[in-house]
Symmetry: D2
Subunit: 422 residues, 4 copies
């Protein structure tokens, strides 16, 4: 085995996970490709679980970052003012918020997804004076106690070691049928239901870890309408589905809703560097100075690359490109499901956030393992890892997208032909 | 006012704080100095609240980082294996753990201080099957719900919007007198005390945010002894006091104790980049794969600079240098307290983590404001901001350290002379 | 106004409630009748909210009680042994448990409904090592924090002043439709639902305070089946529906289910004296001695009357009598609903636990007020007090039952005719 | 063995406790004496754990009770008005509250100690809008989740099966030394202590279950003063120490303090019947009607006996009698401690609530067992059952008090002489 794998196995905690599925040592990465220490090349259909929507080490961002470092630009600034930060704020406003008629205030809650979710929950409770948050089945929001309380996965929840409180789980769209909101509303309007009017609902428009479940726009619109009617804040956790992954910068744009609070992280920095923001409607921005803080909320390297990444959104060409390629992806997956009925598959998702859920136990893990052998990296999702999940870089060239899809098709075919051997 | 300040005031959430104390825009930084957009130079006695113990943009680390970026080294790897990670693990073992006869497993819990604290609390509860954590008055551990539950500051706690649970606060060393552990032990041994044997105690050896309170070594040794006797895990939160800040790599070395779990972040990456580790005694490393995870737990830029930073610890010369300079600092502060009895000051802390607590309300804020005018950056600490806190880079040249101390002396003198004008 | 009413208004807390609906002073009561200080006679269709199923001051029980008192029988015995207690235990076993093939252990958890519910929840958590309890919309279980946590009413819940925890509310039968258990099961079987397998479910077979909602036997059987399948304990709270109120001693007999734990109180003593028991399957009886206790768990006066009350259940004649009269009641209510379509009424309940829910806001309160004027006492129920609720003594003579029903019919008629005046 | 003991062992839950220490079957009781089914007579120095301060079956109360029952007086009235209730309220005001210049409103929260404690905690949280309650080491307040959360005993707490929340335990008087309030105040005034200003403190002036710990009056006065200064409500739980047990009707009278809320139960009814009240300063009586309720809050039998019992307090003769006899008791216990240094005893308590704490493990249990043999009933208390506790009826004749004390002296002597045989 590799000496480096040895080192990791010897020194790193057993909590490590992806190294178990992708047992090799990566050294280099560019755009939608990665290379390991043996020089083997991989197509990356994983993209850092959505943190690398623009691929690896994008040249434009790289240049900006190296120039900044070479000029001894300030690296770590807490929430003091820096030029890098001001530039990011201005451009984020000009390129993203203003054209979409959104006037959010930008909070830097610490650089990770769970930081932004925790800040959103705290603010919602502070604004409303209520304690409960409604979250949804299949939701994934993070690993710290506040975020974990609104996360559905039972293995992760048990990791808390304490009862997780002040949250109520409701059924996501299509959980049982199309009527999940009938239940939700009944609980809210009935004064004897045991469910209090919550501070907020926290929703992913497409659930990633939960198994690539895409809510219908109609469902999202109804959620917004219910929130408005009852004075409940609507938090969209766009950590995974945002930054173009579903085809638009924010995942909720196509549904036509305007959340009260939005959580962004993962691909926000563009380069895979830690960065997160919490977007807050101005009238809700009632924090005391420093009431929520964090050491790495001023990660200027990430400001620099994030600012560069916004160039992708200056006009609608990128959206169109994503849309076009996502159709290819979707159609190919549909074909796989049709061609191989043995896998009892269902295509899920929207945009560049798609996958196949298979009712055959263990199949998805086998597909991803087979793909890895063939030089394609892809992960599983869902409570029983029943989904294999395609997360290519949004700017992957069409030919390499097709090449990747062929590897998947071949892997499925291989497994279907010779189930015993696998 | 600066256009960039305008931008920030307009777009960033009111939660921003340090910009209020240091109302200028920083552009460049090197070693122990910073420059704003007007070209004004500052001595940095703040060091990113302890995240920049080696100063800004250290040339050695910078070179390693730029080389890595230029070679398209993998930037974001979740917890897949990368050469950058393996190198960090090996060197951390060789340079830090092995010489200190520590055999911790290294967990990457996400890149911030609150991530490592949350992982430590979760693991302690999982290992022991108990729910309570004992924390201490004046403790600061983070802003997410788990970490906030063990943090003392009432303004921050109220920010949670929910009751914070599963924790018991005990009196830190010297809280009332030297007998705080008599109370603690009585609570533990009395079956009618209402305090259950906890999963863990979480302790800072020197409390930073809490007001630069340094626990006596004897107190820390007794804490360890109590933990051993009752089967309680000892978590040292070394996020702020670690990485040399008190004079040794770990702040607990001089006390001769061996915690069960150690939390490190802030200066770990050396360059101000987000990185954190949770160090775990091997027999406690019982996580399930992926039971705690996080998108940015594989921040390879930070691995590269962190590895380079470890060169500071290859022999004991750095420790000696810190020790020598810390004596200068401590003696100067003692002299200030003696020279200006009007400030009713008390020198606190140890190593490069020192300050003066003043009983004169508002004085510390005035001192830091005056210093800022004079080109020195320094923050306040303590529940009532009653302490001004000196956190220079550990590798600051002696002459600039003295220069900074002179600015402080001048500022105090100025305020004492003309209290009305200030 | 009455001097006694004055005294009460002056000295008793504003929390008092029924005195507001029945503003007179009661002095005497016998069987199904009450008299106030003015000598006015009332038919009692309220029966102490189900605590007086055998009517007031039953002569047989009264004689036993007075004899016991006159002989200086021990009154208060905590859980020391007394002859009165032993006699109750033996007779309860012989007359109630054995014929029904139930072998429960009997716990005396304190003399009120909330005591038995709290003991049941504690035991379920202790036995399973789990923390959550599933309760149901519309459920009412008591006012102490544990019981209140499983109670649905939002006004009562807010009275807690703290978030109520460790419980999950699911939809009771017919809450939205007949499929409520499809949702419940989906939540249990989905590892990503955010709902953990609970320690227990606590269910009323007919919800009294919740608005006289009678679950279908099929629903109850499915609940039992789900509990068995997942190793969840089934607690039936029979405090209000038990002791004959639905036609059988236990309310769950007709559904053919065997709960793991049963809560009884209210009419258990027969005479309106405080008494409660928690019935526990022998294999679950793992309490430590004194782990749950209470000063009034040995209320011997209540043992004496409870023992006497069991004579009602020596053969099946009482059940038959209840059944016959309940048909009269049910049919009359159906006729009222049909005769007065203006009240938009729906008949609810089963046995001697019935009522009419009216969609006309405020109507039920007006009906009960009008009845009170006419000498009939009856209360409202449901989250919006939309139900008027008939709870006559089970042994009320047929002619007085009919007389009471006529008063109700008259009251409704009166209100329908002249809605303005009312 | 007795047939009745057999019945109980066979049918009652293993949670039963006192029957284990007093393994006989009681049939009859009068004043300060009890008889078992074998006709053996016992002196009762236990008094129903404080529920029988006037002894068993007091003739005056008995006559009133039987007359009431014979006249078919209303037995169970919820919180409807009854003459029995009005008479109790008026007399309680005239005999108890008015002469002591107390103007509390009287709430009937359900008939047991835990009911009144739960209502007090709820009201304190409602009034202040805060969630935390400060309770004290050694405190005992009840077995339902709210009351259990403020109870110290770890075995009882573990019986909850869930973490007990929203409470902070502080050191009772003399817990470590006389300075426990220095700690308490420091925690309150320090904004970084992690302890929020609570809704209330709940205190017993003498802790019964906790081991007969009597707080100094000075300590109680300081507690009151701290509560006033910080706007914290002061709840005195007088369930066990009240109704004359310490020599005055309320246990706090001698300390000269005026609590905001007082909890009474146990001996309130005088006859051992379940009854409790929560006394509330008028300005705090902000309940909504029915916001806290309970089936047995109108236990008229108890109103009748409680009213009769108040005759004991019409003048100060009863207080004087208690005082005189308590001196005999206290002096005898002091003599026992002096005469038998082997028991390493300490006399504790005040009034008729006294005991000896012995450092010899298991000794107190042996003393009570030996006394039981000799015809005296007495229980142990304290977290390790290290105290034997004398709770005679307050109206015990001097000669029988002395006789009981002689039995105790003899038992101790016997054990000291022949420790092996015991």
């Amino acid at each position: 085995m590799s000496k480096n794998i040895d080192i990791i196995n010897q020194h790193e905690s057993v909590v490590r996970s992806y190294i178990r599925n992708f047992p090799t040592v990566f050294t280099k990465a560019k755009k939608h490709k990665m290379w390991d220490e043996n020089g083997k090349e991989y197509l990356d259909f994983f993209s850092g679980a959505g943190a690398l929507n623009y691929g690896h080490n994008d040249d434009h961002m790289k240049k900006k970052l190296v120039d900044y470092i070479m000029s001894d630009g300030i690296t770590h600034s807490l929430d003091m003012a820096s030029t890098a930060k001001a530039e990011f704020l201005q451009k984020f406003h000009d390129v993203i918020l203003k054209p979409r008629e959104l006037d959010y205030k930008v909070m830097f809650p610490g650089p990770t997804g769970t930081n932004t979710v925790e800040s959103a929950l705290k603010l919602a409770r502070k604004v409303t004076g209520r304690t409960d948050i409604i979250s949804f089945t299949g939701g994934f929001h993070g690993m710290t106690i506040g975020s974990l309380s609104v996360t559905g996965n039972s293995m992760k929840r048990q990791g808390a070691g304490i009862p997780l409180q002040n949250t109520v789980t409701m059924a996501y769209d299509n959980y049982v049928d199309h009527d999940t909101l009938v239940y939700l509303e009944r609980f809210l309007e009935d004064k004897g239901s045991g469910v209090a009017i919550p501070a907020a609902m926290i929703v992913e428009t497409v659930q990633g870890e939960g198994g690539i479940n895409a809510a219908r726009f109609e469902w999202l619109q109804q959620i917004e309408e219910i929130c408005r009617r009852w004075g409940i804040l609507l938090i969209i956790d766009d950590v995974q589905a945002g930054i173009g992954r579903t085809g638009t910068f924010f995942s909720f744009e196509a549904a036509g809703i305007k959340p009260d609070i939005v959580c962004l992280s993962k691909s926000l920095s563009g380069y895979g560097l830690p960065l997160a923001v919490t977007l807050i409607k101005p009238e809700l921005d009632i924090w005391k100075p420093g009431e929520h803080n964090g050491t790495f909320r001023g990660n200027n390297h990430a400001f620099v690359t994030a600012t560069a990444a916004l160039d992708y959104w200056k006009d609608d060409s990128f959206e169109k490109e994503i849309h076009e390629k996502s159709e290819i992806m979707y159609n190919t997956l549909q074909k796989i499901v049709t061609d191989y009925p043995e896998i009892k598959g269902e295509v899920r998702g929207r945009g560049f956030m798609v996958g196949i859920a298979s009712e055959v136990e263990g199949l998805s893990a086998k597909v991803t393992a087979k793909c890895f052998e063939s030089g394609l990296i892809m992960e599983t999702a869902g409570p029983n890892d029943e989904v294999f999940k395609l997360f290519p870089a949004l700017n992957i060239p069409k030919e390499d997208l097709i090449k990747g899809l062929e590897i998947i098709d071949e892997s499925v075919k291989h497994l279907v032909k010779d189930p015993v051997a696998n």
